[in-house]
């Protein structure tokens, strides 16, 4: 187990280092003259030179990279060009907002999709199964700005039950904030539901067909007890790992949902940075997103191996 953890953390670090090189290429090498890209074709060469000197983009690439990555390790990602504030501060605040939205989505989707997956498995081939699998797949592939539009049209415009934007007025209470977050969270729920439900369904079907389930049934245990004690306990193991691994989809979804509902999270921050060619903010933000993803995948793997005695006790693993 110990060796497994060390190896897994090592892999995550290597991946992050590679990602930092890719992000650096994307934000400092590919744009060519960064100052020119930021200021546009009509700026004087003098002001472009001044900006390049201030950003440090007139130095050799290797120096720029080591400086940037050295700062990143100590929590300094430079300053945003357009917002004139430290990138770390901006990204931190945005991440906190996104975490609220993401947490609400997870609180709704996890029980819902697990329940859907279990029902589909128990009624395999029946109507419920078709609805959960085909409906879930369809909901997963429809872009968030399409499902979001339909949710806004139905619940905000037509019925008037919920607000169509995510940002509550300043100083409003917890419940008002929550009300504003329901529609954006539902968009994310629609995207995440299908996959988690599918994995749960597959796990339950596998457990239903396993020998220990047959033994339990032949022993004469009631079906409800067999399902609760034997099937679910074994089937939900892979689901737990899958839930944590959905963070990647969640962040991809946040980019769109936060734009549609104008919510000040990490997604909107990155879109703004890209639109304004704010390279320091974009580079820092993407790197942090990659780190968040790697950490959640790490936690997914570790929790799975900890919950799964075959790996936990397997020694070399």
């Amino acid at each position: 187990m110990g060796r497994f953890i060390v190896r897994r953390i090592g892999l995550a670090l290597i991946t992050l280092a590679l990602l930092s090189v890719l992000v650096f290429i994307g934000t400092q090498l590919l744009p060519g003259d960064v100052g020119r890209r930021v200021l546009g074709p009509f700026a004087t060469q003098e002001s472009v030179d001044i900006l390049n000197a201030r950003l440090g983009t007139d130095r050799p690439l290797l120096v720029q990279y080591t400086d940037w990555i050295g700062g990143a390790v100590t929590g300094d990602l430079g300053d945003s060009i357009t917002l004139a504030r430290p990138v770390t501060e901006l990204v931190g605040r945005a991440l906190l907002n996104s975490a609220k939205l993401g947490a609400l989505a997870f609180v709704i989707v996890v029980p819902l999709s697990i329940l859907g997956g279990i029902l589909a498995a128990l009624r395999r081939g029946k109507l419920v199964d078709r609805i959960v699998t085909v409906g879930g797949l369809s909901a997963t592939v429809i872009p968030e700005f399409v499902s979001g539009i339909i949710l806004i049209l139905v619940f905000a415009v037509t019925l008037g039950w919920l607000p169509g934007t995510a940002s509550a007025p300043r100083g409003s209470g917890f419940l008002t904030q929550l009300r504003h977050l329901i529609l954006p969270a539902m968009c994310l729920v629609l995207v995440l539901f299908g996959y988690i439900a599918r994995i749960t369904r597959a796990g339950v079907i596998e457990a239903l067909e396993a020998d220990y389930t047959r033994t339990a049934i032949l022993k004469g245990l009631p079906r409800s007890i067999v399902i609760r004690r034997e099937v679910l306990r074994n089937a939900l193991l892979p689901t737990i790992a899958v839930v944590a691994s959905q963070v990647g989809y969640l962040i991809g979804g946040l980019v769109i949902v936060e734009t549609l509902f104008s919510y000040q999270g990490i997604g909107q921050l990155l879109v703004g940075a890209a639109r304004n060619a704010d390279f320091p903010l974009l580079a820092g933000g993407v790197l942090v997103v990659g780190a968040v993803f790697q950490v959640s995948m790490l936690l997914a793997d570790l929790s799975y191996s900890w919950l799964n005695p075959r790996i936990r006790l397997g020694g070399s693993g």
Partner: protein, 281 residues
Amino acid sequence: MTVPIASRSQRWRVLRGSATFWVGATIVVIWVVFAIFGDFITPFDPLGTPADVLNRLEQPSGDHPLGTDELGRDVLSRVLAGARQVMTVALAATVLGTIFGTALGLLVGYAGGIVDDILSRILDAFLSIPLVITGMLALTALGPNTFGVIVVIGLVFTPIIAKTVRAAVLSERQLDYVTAAQLRRDNSLYVLFVEILPNVANVIIVEFTVRLGYAIFTVLALSFLGFGVEPSIPDWGLMIAQHYGFLTGGFWWPVLFPAVAIASLVVAVNLVADSVSQAFE
């Protein structure tokens, strides 16, 4: 897996018998027809005319069955013409990714060892950030244009497809026909592309259809966010981006109809991909 490999005709029979496949395929074909013949079908010029400004945001009516947008352009014409933009870009990106990914996967699977490890790490790094963000980053760096969208999506697909093809090549390499070809001292490239490639074609077909779904999703998401499409081009994502601010004012038609078009296309492509995966894997 040790399941006996189904013959080619059996696979097609499974596919032909799948209702999901037919529903999906029919919708895809309809959109392909609009994409190709859109110019002859659209009742009005999708790009609009100066006179359109007089009919801004008109409700759906006999003249304009789906209404008009903020510049008075016919929404029906723009929705039909929009099929071309998304389908050409997504298809080109997927073809690009599939060609490079297949070539890379064949080579890496055949070479193995350190090359294999390097590919896996690069793939992991790419997959640490959502495709939409990678796309935004690259389009910001290279300047936003449609060609950039194709290259970026194709480039990100390359290692993903390569990984799948590599796994298929690894299991083929053990088989007798490859050993025989090697003993015959056939050229490695010949073995790869003439002997092995046809035998991993199923994997590639499945991968292609699945990736096409992702490509459509990403192309539309990027254009919704304002990356990669010129503002005048009829594009579904862009149409929604330009008009969702009008929703609260009750102007639902320039937003809802492109949204329905997107939903029908992505669901249809994924129904096809899903039934192809089930028949071929």
